[in-house]
Symmetry: C2
Subunit: 336 residues, 2 copies
């Protein structure tokens, strides 16, 4: 490792994993191997609770389709949902830069309230700090959340098995490209909007339909679909093979990615989930997803093709196999 | 209100309260009156849970007696403890500035681990973000926490009654003056150290000894003893009168405050609690506090002297009464 923090340490890719695995987790916990799931599951009085935290530092704070406020609520709701939990309570920690217009703060808080109401979670506690100009960037938001379980089984990243299908609930790369276009003031003809959405109801329907055939769930945020599938492959010790022709990428997102030299497979999503489902249940789960507003364009993008040490491949249109690795560093900083 | 965020909005004083009461709470919650307690209490399957969040932006990040890491753990442990809960799980959200030396991060994380172990809480989940140089200041840490209750009754800020005694577990102003001396490179002859400590065991003993005679508990952090007592007075609709001669201020802290024109009553503490206790139980609670390592210098600093709309007075050495109000803005920015 280097001896200072690099931007790439926040990318969600290889440098992030290295920082976590070699410094943060061993130092904080004393354990060598981390639980890579987005939420911790605690036992309380014989009942399970999910607990998660996320800080949001997205730049810009307002972007097409949302802002840092609803992003923060939806992100934490989704981390709980991916553990199979029903989100119930959220905390809000604000770090404000001196000089932030109160009107901006008001708009962000109003979006948080609306997102929380829409997701059925209560904002129950909070904290506000202010730092001098130049010591933060407008506003950073931490949202932590508690969820409860309405069922007995566990959904984790380590459950993928050979033969499982990989389902996604819609197009990939929308959030990252919306942020990037907005940040850089790119005059992309098309209006690319964030896909930020609370997915807990979709998850509840997936679990109700698929039950224990749902082997893993994860939201492909920082690092995108590629990084998230690589994590699942590593956790589950399987190979995953994607079909290039089956990747759902909006034409305008594909176009913007092409111009900028980015691969949509590595671009962040904030309203997408990857479900790893036993083959016999895949079609019924897909049907349920497609009936939900956040899953109308759900599709199967690949499958678990073998037991291994965790490889991800893309089968190209002409039939070749391309290995997909995590990016070392930062494709798009401050995407969430 | 102004139309931009000022440093004073983070002070814990009048501007902070105004921001919370006029913008943040109404916009986030839609309710006019906020629950001013440091932790929210949730019901889960018939059992109560405490949930709290705090972001730490202290400057400097290392100071005599501690650093931002153990401060963050102890602060969240204390917020849970002040609700009468036993802390069980903590989350850690890191916002790192590009360029932060990994060795600094390692020291901070090691302090967090040690503080968590010492407090008997598990760090169960986390998140790490990185922002470019100049977009944050070295490291900001959010800690959120979950606590459980080993007893049935509630300790809140609104329970103070006429006749109650105000107890504190030791000297005031140590943390704030340690930070200030360290930040400004003041060559104060004396070594002033933070009082940062986890108070949940002391709280458990106070509750075991005082039971329902413990009417309110609060840790006097930002804004100090004066602001915290003003909050309790307002919440409980009582007057509180402090005895000037009874305020426990270390000589070196008093000296530094005098040089800098600060009132120790408004200076932050990170290992102190204020207990508002029925008069018949005050001496026995005080005795228990004094037997605890974090309460050896516990003392009674005042009492609840009447029902009112929430005034705090200081009875001076010559018998006068001085009204104590919250500071409008910032006495010491970025103290925690």
């Amino acid at each position: 490792m280097t001896d200072i923090i690099l931007l790439g340490h926040g990318s969600g890719g290889k440098l992030s994993h290295q920082l976590l695995d070699e410094l943060i987790i061993p130092t904080l916990s004393g354990v060598a191997q981390r639980d890579q799931n987005d939420a911790a599951v605690l036992n309380h009085g014989g009942q399970r609770l999910a607990f998660t935290t996320d800080s949001y530092v997205v730049d810009p704070i307002f972007f097409p389709g949302g802002n840092i406020g609803d992003l923060a609520i939806n992100g934490t709701v989704n981390d709980l949902a991916m553990a199979g939990a029903r989100p119930v309570a959220v905390s809000v920690g604000l770090i404000l830069e001196e000089g932030l217009p109160l009107e901006d703060l008001r708009r962000i808080l109003a979006s948080m309230k609306q997102a929380a109401q829409s997701a059925g979670v209560a904002i129950v506690t909070g904290d506000t700090k202010v730092v001098p100009r130049g010591k933060a960037d407008k506003i950073f938001i931490n949202t932590s959340g508690i969820g409860v379980f309405d069922h007995d089984y566990e959904v984790r990243g380590s459950g993928a098995r050979v033969g499982d299908k990989i389902l996604i609930n819609g197009s990939i790369g929308d959030h990252g490209m919306a942020i990037l276009a907005s940040r850089e003031g790119l005059d992309l003809e098309a209006d690319i909007r964030t896909d930020s959405a609370a997915l807990h109801e979709l998850v509840a329907e997936i679990i109700a339909a698929g039950g224990e055939a749902v082997h893993a769930l994860r939201d492909p945020t920082r690092g995108g679909v590629a990084t998230t599938l690589k994590e699942i492959a590593l956790q589950s010790q399987v190979d995953i093979t994607l079909e290039e022709a089956a990747q759902p990428v909006r034409q305008e997102v594909a176009g913007a990615c092409a111009i900028l030299g980015l691969d949509p497979l590595f671009v962040a999503n904030e309203g997408k989930l990857l479900a790893v489902v036993a083959p016999e249940a895949a079609e019924s789960v897909l049907a349920v997803m497609r009936r939900h507003p956040h899953g109308a364009e759900a599709t199967i993008i690949g499958e678990v093709t073998g037991a291994s040490d965790g490889k991800v491949f893309m089968r190209t249109a002409i039939g070749g196999l391309r290995a997909i690795e995590m990016l070392a560093g930062e494709q798009l900083p401050r995407i969430c």
